[in-house]
Amino acid sequence: MALSALERIDRRWIFLVVGLLVLVPLLWPIGLPVVPTTPVRQYHDAIAAIPDGSTVLMSCDYDPASTPELAPMTETSLRQLWDKRCKVVVTVLWNGGAAVVDQSIEKVADEYRARGVPLVDGVDYVNLGYKSGNEAVMVLMGQGIASAFPRDQRGRVTTQLPIMRTVTDYSSFPMLVNISAGYPGTKEWVQQVNSRFHLPMVSGCTAVSAPEFFPYLQSGQLRGLLGGMAGAAEYEVLRKERGAATSGMDAQSMAHLFIALCIVAGNVVHWTRRRAGASA
C-alpha cells in the first residue's frame, strides 16, 4: 500500500527535499516581505535611545556554528551604534568565537572606512578578545574592564588604548548589547550583570534560546530581543539593510513550510494506517 510505503520512506529522501528547498531560493530569491515584530523593534529602539557618542559594551558570545544567525545581528548592531558615533568595546566569552567576531567587526569597519568615515581600532572600537571562566569573568569585569582584559585581541595593553580612557567598569556603559549562542550568554549576563550592576541590556540570540528569554523581556531585564535569523532579518529591514539574514528568509520560509507539512503528513499517514489496521 502506498501509505505504508510512505511511512517507511528512507529518510535520505527527506534530507534531499530539505536540501533543495533551501538551495533553490538561495539561487533564485523570491523576495518575500519581512515585517518587523515587537521584540525586534524594542531592540532597535533601545539602541536608538542610547546617547549619541557614548561607549557601549558588546559581548559577542558565540562560535562559528551560530554565525549564520548571529553574525548578521552583530554586524547590524555595529552599524546602528557607529551611525550614532558610539564607541564599541567588544568582548567574547566563547572559546571558538574571538576570531569570527573580529572578522565581523573589521568587515563593518571597512565599510565605514570605504565611505570615508575614519574608524580607528583602539579609538572608536576595540575587540578585547576571549576569556575563559564564564560567569566569573562577568563579575571580574564589574571590578574593572581593563583588569579583566589586560590585553586586547591584537595583544595591545588595554589601559593604553584611547577608547579605554573613559572605561572603568560597567558604570561606564549606558547599555550592554549581548549576542548570545547559549552558555555563557544572555542568561548569565542577566543573572550576574544586568541586575547586579544595573546595566540595561538587549539580547540577540539563537532561535533555540529565544523562547527562554521571553520572560526576561517581559520583566524588563532585557530591553529588546532578536531571536534567530528571522529576528536578524527583521532588524536588517528596520535598518534598511539587505544582509545575509534577509536573503536567507526565503529559504527559511520554504523549509519551515515543508517541516510543517511533514508533521501533518506524518500524522495523517499514521492515523490512516491505524484506522486501516483497526478495521482489517
Binding site: 572559546n95 523562547p211 535569523m229 545575509a244
Partner: protein, 224 residues
C-alpha cells in the same frame, strides 16, 4: 560561475562536504573530518587559553611582581592587583594535571574545590536574583486594567499559567482532586511552550543549514 581558486576555501568546502556525507551514512570521510575537528579544536583551545588567560592573568603579572619594579613588594596586594599571590592559582592549575596519574589524582581535587566553590557561590546568588526574585517580582501585575479588557484577560491568563505550571512541579501531594485539575491545566501551558520551543528550534537549525549553503554557493562556487 567561476569556482574559487583559493586553496583554503577548497579545503573548507571539502571538509564541509565530508561532514555532510554523514547524512548518507556514517563513513570514513565523516570520521576523518570528525577526528580532525576534535584534534584541531583541542589544540586551538589550548593555545587560546594560554595566550588570553594564563599569559595575561598569570605569567605577565607574576613576572612583574618578582622583578622588583613594583612599589610595596611582591605581596602588597590590593583589589585586582594580586601580584605574588597569583602563585596560588598557578599551583592549583598545575595540580589539575595530577588527574592524569591515578595515584596522585586526589590532589586535583583542591583545584576543583576552588572552581566548584566559586561557581556555587556565583550561581546561587545569580539564579536567586535574576531568575527567582526578579522573575517573581515581574509577575506581580494588576489583573484588571481599567479600559483594557484584552490586556486584563491576558494578565489573568498569564497568572493562571504561571501558578498552574508551578504547581505541576509540586511533589508533596498526589495529583488528585483540585491539585490534579490544576496541574493538568499546567501541563497545557507547558505543552504550548514546548510547541513554541519546537518551532524556534526548527528555525535555528534551518538557519545553520542556510549559512553553510551560502558559504558553498558564494565563497566556493562564486554563484551570485
Amino acid at each position: 560561475m567561476t569556482i574559487s581558486t583559493d586553496f583554503g576555501v577548497w579545503i573548507a568546502a571539502l571538509l564541509t562536504l565530508c561532514v555532510f556525507s554523514f547524512l548518507y551514512k556514517d563513513n570514513p570521510l565523516y570520521k576523518f573530518a570528525e577526528h580532525l575537528f576534535v584534534g584541531v579544536s583541542a589544540g586551538y583551545y589550548i593555545a587560546l587559553n594560554y595566550w588570553t588567560v594564563v599569559d595575561q592573568y598569570l605569567v605577565i603579572p607574576l613576572r612583574a611582581a618578582f622583578d622588583g619594579s613594583q612599589a610595596g613588594g611582591p605581596f602588597q596586594a590590593q583589589m585586582q592587583d594580586y601580584r605574588g599571590w597569583l602563585i596560588v592559582p598557578a599551583v592549583l592549575g598545575v595540580l589539575l594535571f595530577t588527574r592524569l596519574f591515578t595515584r596522585l589524582s586526589w590532589m586535583s581535587r583542591w583545584s576543583l574545590a576552588v572552581v566548584m566553590g566559586v561557581f556555587a557561590g556565583l550561581k546561587t546568588t545569580g539564579f536567586a536574583q535574576g531568575d527567582l526574585v526578579a522573575q517573581v517580582q515581574a509577575s506581580l501585575v494588576p489583573l484588571w486594567i481599567p479600559g483594557d479588557l484584552w490586556g486584563s484577560l491576558n494578565a489573568i491568563l498569564f497568572t493562571v499559567g504561571l501558578v498552574t505550571s508551578l504547581l505541576f512541579f509540586f511533589y508533596s501531594r498526589e495529583h488528585k482532586g483540585v491539585l490534579g485539575g490544576v496541574s493538568r491545566v499546567g501541563v497545557w501551558f507547558l505543552m504550548i511552550s514546548f510547541g513554541a520551543g519546537y518551532g524556534y528550534t526548527v528555525m535555528s537549525r534551518i538557519s545553520l543549514l542556510i549559512g553553510r549553503f551560502q558559504f558553498l554557493l558564494v565563497d566556493w562556487l562564486h554563484v551570485r
